[in-house]
């Protein structure tokens, strides 16, 4: 079968895992260089969006099911808020990470890691959700479809 987009497919299949890996690098290297949860979330979502653009929305929904999106949106926010609740229970103020470990700066490290993870999950899933919503909408509501 002759496929006009074979080059695009091969190259993007090679690139998509690297984009996802780069997102994780940006996420966990955010303490030391430019980056963080917001950027990593958008890049991770971009890898899924690229997959959907090249291989079709149905294939993307198999790789990243819409139910994950619905769960991930809430889990991200809960992870962020839950970090605050944990610091609360440990005797500090809300979102004061210093109480998470014996040494204050180590506690801050753990807190920032947890919070950035929450941001990553929320941003990734919300961006994918928005793309799914726009992408799977039928372009025209023709009368013959009823």
């Amino acid at each position: 079968m002759h496929d006009p987009h074979v080059l695009l497919r091969v190259i993007s299949k090679f690139l998509i895992p690297i984009i996802a890996l780069f997102a994780l690098y940006v996420q966990f290297h955010g303490d030391y260089g430019p980056g963080g949860g917001f950027q990593a979330g958008v890049i991770l979502a971009a890898s899924v969006i690229l997959y959907a653009l090249i291989f079709g929305l149905d294939a993307a929904k198999k790789a990243f099911p819409p139910s994950w999106v619905r769960i991930g949106m809430t889990i991200g926010v809960l992870l962020y808020g839950g970090t605050g609740v944990v610091t609360w229970l440990l005797g500090g103020e809300y979102l004061n990470y210093s109480v998470l470990a014996h040494e204050a700066s180590h506690g801050q490290h753990y807190g920032i890691l947890a919070v950035e993870l929450g941001v990553l999950v929320t941003v990734t899933t919300v961006m994918i959700a928005i793309f799914y919503a726009f992408g799977s909408r039928q372009p025209e509501t023709d009368e013959r479809d009823w």
């Binding site: 940006v26 955010g30 303490d31 030391y32 260089g33 430019p34 980056g35 963080g36 949860g37 917001f38 950027q39 958008v42 890049i43 979502a45 971009a46 969006i49 653009l53 819409p66 999106v69 619905r70 949106m73 809430t74 991200g76 926010v77 962020y80 808020g81 605050g84 809300y94 979102l95 990470y97 204050a104 700066s105 801050q108 490290h109 807190g111 920032i112 919070v115 950035e116 929450g118 941001v119 929320t122 941003v123 899933t125 919300v126 961006m127 959700a129 928005i130 793309f131 799914y132 919503a133 726009f134 992408g135 799977s136 909408r137 039928q138 372009p139 509501t141 023709d142 479809d145 009823w146």
Partner: protein, 242 residues
């Protein structure tokens, strides 16, 4: 490290780069005003974001540049293209007589702001109010308090954790709003709204025609929705009698 302190040797190419980027931005912005093809407008908006990201790097805001390049030039362009695909390809020309009013407002507002520029601190002033107090305190204290090199991450996640929590909730609710308006599978609200609020439900949607299961659930949903106003109508007279 000694090189970075010698600012005068770096200044001339930086100013040339800045002026070039600014000229590009102005050209792109004016092109957006003049264009009528929505595809061109959306792509130029992505170009505008990307050039902005380049300028952010020149202004030392590497984190912001990163975000702008990923979000403004990447995701928002894709979203606008998807929306354009669902809406329209061309915008209709606006008659010249309807453009004078906006032009006048914009010119007056711009002139007022340019007059106010004289009161602004000089570009790059280290002792301006914005750069004097809390921002520089964050730099001085991050090394001791948090012990990570990237001050932006430290301020974002720790010092201003409440802010970022709020932003996360805003993103969450924006995603929720899009899902309510369009649906995760693109089949939310397949009814035709009348302009003054009357709803006419369409039991079968094009998306529902594909799968039988959703076709069966749709009429039930419609009945439920139709039943709700009747119930509330019945309850309000009772409350009025008492």
């Amino acid at each position: 490290m000694a090189v970075s302190l010698n600012a005068s040797s770096v200044a001339i190419p930086t100013i040339a780069l800045d002026i070039g980027l600014m000229a590009l931005l102005v050209v792109v912005a004016f092109a957006i005003v003049r264009m009528r093809s929505l595809f061109a407008i959306v792509m130029l908006q992505g170009v505008y974001s990307l050039v902005c990201a380049a300028w952010f790097v020149s202004l030392d805001a590497v984190d912001v540049a990163f975000t702008e390049a990923a979000v403004g030039a990447g995701v928002s362009t894709v979203l606008m293209l998807a929306a354009m695909l669902l809406a329209d390809r061309k915008s209709e020309p606006v008659p010249m007589k309807r453009q004078w009013g906006p032009l006048l407002i914009v010119l007056i507002a711009g002139a007022a702001m340019i007059l106010a520029v004289g009161d602004m601190p000089n570009y790059g002033a280290a002792n301006s109010p914005a750069n004097s107090y809390v921002g520089m305190d964050y730099i001085a204290r991050t090394a001791e308090d948090i012990d990570i090199p990237n001050v932006v991450t430290a301020v974002l996640a720790s010092y201003r954790g409440y802010d970022t929590f709020g932003e996360t909730v805003v993103i969450f609710s924006a995603g929720l709003g899009v899902l309510l308006l369009l649906g995760l599978n693109g089949n939310a609200g397949r009814w035709r709204a009348k302009p003054n609020g009357h709803r006419v439900f369409r039991p079968s949607a094009p998306a529902a025609a594909v799968s039988k299961t959703s076709d069966e659930t749709k009429p039930n949903e419609t009945k439920k929705r139709r039943g709700r106003p009747r119930k509330s109508k019945a309850s309000t007279p009772d409350g009025g009698d008492k």
